[in-house]
């Protein structure tokens, strides 16, 4: 694994995205900040509706909704992206920052051949000739592990299986050697055996193309196996971030504990009951005033319902973007015993 450069490639500061709707303002993303360095894989986890996709799509202004409001700052190689017009963003989209969307079944235009769609992107950003673009596309298809790439080039999306389609989408995303690859749940729709293939592929390609990867998922297992660093989101906010090891070995936030605990283990003794998180995620239009997780938190105390916790590193001082940090009011020393209490009480 190449040593991640410390110079951030992409830096997001206090990103806020809200939608105006009949029920009032829905804050889908509420003050998200993170950094991504070249060659790094940053995993973003969170339950459905926690704002993962909205965060990523707002980076490149891909939310096509007249009722959206985006605030904050997104700097790519030092250039501010928020506020750019669609025309100005065109050169960044697909060329510098590429996307792989969640559902490979619907991510490709059904009426065009797979190869055509790759060539289209190549020719939008380079001055390759048709023939050269075609050769390059076939090369890319081979690189993502498509058997007989020249044949697959001529296929329509529906003629490919889910895994092959996802490969084609990845090949398309990689076609311009982007600096950042944003993969929004790239394996959720796939079977485990195929998921394993795709995750392996992403790893391999990071090495080969050197792209930084922003990997969104709601599967803790996928993050654990793929990401260098992890960011956990809950109700549009980041509740915890840190390196993969920090996060999985010593999670600080009670929500992270719950996430990790509610997955049944694949080996070892089977618990009789799972340590589930009680209750349901809150509606974004009516967030509780304090910590959004407080109503479900077994370790919550009075302050949690009033004061909104900020992301805080373990060590005092200004928050380094790469430090292990959590947005929780629990004092650092109470965390381990509280975690013990929560999980065991549930298992009773």
């Amino acid at each position: 694994m190449p040593e991640p450069s410390l110079e951030p490639l992409l830096s997001v500061r206090d990103l806020r995205v809200s939608f105006r709707s009949a029920q009032g303002r829905v804050r889908a993303v509420d003050g998200v900040s993170f950094e991504l360095s070249a060659g790094e894989i940053l995993g973003v986890v969170g339950e459905s509706g926690s704002g993962k996709s909205v965060t990523l799509m707002s980076l490149l202004g891909l939310i096509d909704n007249p009722n959206v409001e985006i605030e904050g700052s997104v700097r790519f190689r030092g250039r501010e992206l928020i506020g750019l017009s669609a025309g100005e963003l065109q050169s960044v989209r697909g060329r510098e920052i590429a996307y792989v969307f969640q559902d490979p079944m619907t991510a490709l235009t059904p009426v065009w051949r797979v190869g055509w769609q790759i060539v289209e992107q190549l020719r939008a950003h380079t001055d390759l000739s048709q023939a050269a673009a075609r050769a390059r596309a076939i090369e890319l298809l081979a690189a993502v592990g498509m058997p007989s790439p020249a044949q697959q080039f001529e296929r329509y999306p529906h003629e490919l299986s889910g895994g092959m389609r996802q490969r084609a989408v990845i090949a398309m995303a990689l076609s311009c050697n982007p600096a950042v690859l944003i993969a929004d749940e790239p394996t959720t729709a796939l079977d485990v055996t195929v998921q394993a293939q795709i995750l392996g592929l992403i790893h391999r390609l990071r090495e080969q193309f050197g792209s930084a990867v922003l990997l969104v998922t709601h599967d803790m297992g996928v993050v654990a196996e793929t990401a260098d660093r992890v960011m956990v989101m809950y109700a549009g906010r980041v509740v915890e971030q840190g390196s993969a090891a920090e996060l999985f070995d010593t999670p600080w936030h009670p929500y992270t504990w719950g996430l990790l605990g509610s997955i049944p283990p694949l080996d070892g003794p089977r618990p009789r009951r799972l340590p589930a998180i009680a209750g349901l995620p809150p509606a974004l239009s009516a967030l509780p005033p304090g910590c959004a997780f407080a109503p479900r938190c077994a370790a919550a105390h009075a302050a949690c319902t009033q004061q909104r916790p900020l992301l805080q590193a373990g060590a005092p001082g200004p928050l380094a973007p790469r430090a292990h940090a959590a947005a929780c009011l629990l004092p650092a020393d109470e965390r381990a015993p509280a975690r013990e209490r929560c999980t065991s009480s549930l298992d009773a």
Partner: protein, 323 residues
């Protein structure tokens, strides 16, 4: 595959047979439909009436009459009119076809171009005034009775403002064959085609706009935008291309129905001697052979258009091709 085609053909035959029987039944249920008296003439004696009835086979059982009619229509092709005795029906239809084709073809060209433009502009300006204006116009187009629109057009172009520079070029109503005068042909079709296309332009424009907007929410459009394509390319190459599928199927069915005589009202109002007018006239005089022939002809086009649309659908939408 051949089996499938055969099945499809079988289905078509079934439907057409059903229609012919229905037509036949309707005709004989019509009061005053028995053409003997009309053929025999006023004040005919009972003997004459009987002779005519026998000559034309109206004294035969219904089934035999039906069989005879079908035989004359499809096998010997020598079906003749009851009203204009001796007039062969099939050549009549053949003569009416170019008129209808000219009218419908011209209108189709207009409405396709118009509606694609309308749909694109409206979808691109979704929610803003050009969208609203176009959609209201489309709605008005859909809501105008075509015969009324045609009459108003006639009033304006043939009478009220006929003497002004604006409409002085408008030829009198009726049809001029292309072979007789290409320019005359073109001019005499301008207003009929425009009138006919208004309804469909509104309809298709609205359908296309809805399809474009629906496509705009599809994942693949998001992918296309994420690829860094220009908005225009996203709209034309991705959204429009997929949205056209719904329009093409609509178009097939409508075109089939219109060529089959569905443009009856337009033809009647503009005095174009096409299939629709032929049908209408024969219905007015209860001329069963002509009615039967035109109805068969029309239903053939409808049924064939349905089948063709299915095939065409598979051609334009690769998903359907080997589903």
């Amino acid at each position: 595959m051949t089996l499938a085609i055969l099945r499809r053909l079988g289905q078509m035959l079934f439907v057409m047979a059903g229609i012919s029987i229905l037509t036949f039944a309707i005709f004989f249920a019509t009061p005053g439909a028995d053409p003997s008296a009309r053929i025999a003439g006023r004040n005919a004696s009972p003997e004459t009436l009987a002779a005519v009835r026998h000559d034309f086979g109206f004294d035969q059982p219904m089934a035999v009459q039906y069989g005879l009619l079908m035989k004359r229509l499809f096998i010997t092709g020598e079906l003749t009119s009851f009203v204009n005795r001796g007039e062969q029906v099939l050549p009549e239809i053949a003569a009416a076809m170019p008129v209808t084709l000219s009218l419908v073809g011209g209108a189709a060209l207009l409405w396709l171009l118009g509606s694609v433009l309308m749909g694109l502009v409206a979808a691109a300006h979704r929610g803003r005034w050009p969208d609203k204006l176009l959609m209201v116009l489309g709605l008005v187009g859909i809501s105008m009775p075509v015969y009324w629109l045609g009459s108003v057009v006639n009033l304006v172009t043939q009478s009220r403002w006929h003497d002004t520079w604006l409409f002085s070029w408008v030829p009198p109503l009726g049809y001029v064959p292309f072979s007789q005068s290409p320019l005359g042909w073109l001019l005499c079709l301008v207003f009929p085609c425009l009138t006919l296309s208004v309804l469909y332009m509104g309809l298709y424009g609205r359908v296309l706009r809805a399809a474009l907007i629906e496509a705009g929410q599809e994942d693949y459009i998001r992918t296309a935008r994420a690829k860094g394509l220009s908005p225009r390319r996203v709209l034309l190459a991705h959204a429009l291309r997929t949205s056209l599928i719904s329009v093409v199927t609509l178009f097939g069915l409508d075109f089939g129905a219109l060529v089959g005589g569905g443009a009856l009202l337009t033809e009647v109002v503009f005095g174009l001697p096409g299939i629709g007018k032929l049908t209408y006239d024969s219905l007015q005089t209860l001329d069963l052979p002509v009615i039967m022939a035109t109805v068969m002809y029309a239903s053939f086009f409808v049924v064939a258009a349905n089948a063709l649309v299915d095939v065409a659908y598979a051609f334009i939408d690769p998903r359907v091709r080997d589903a």
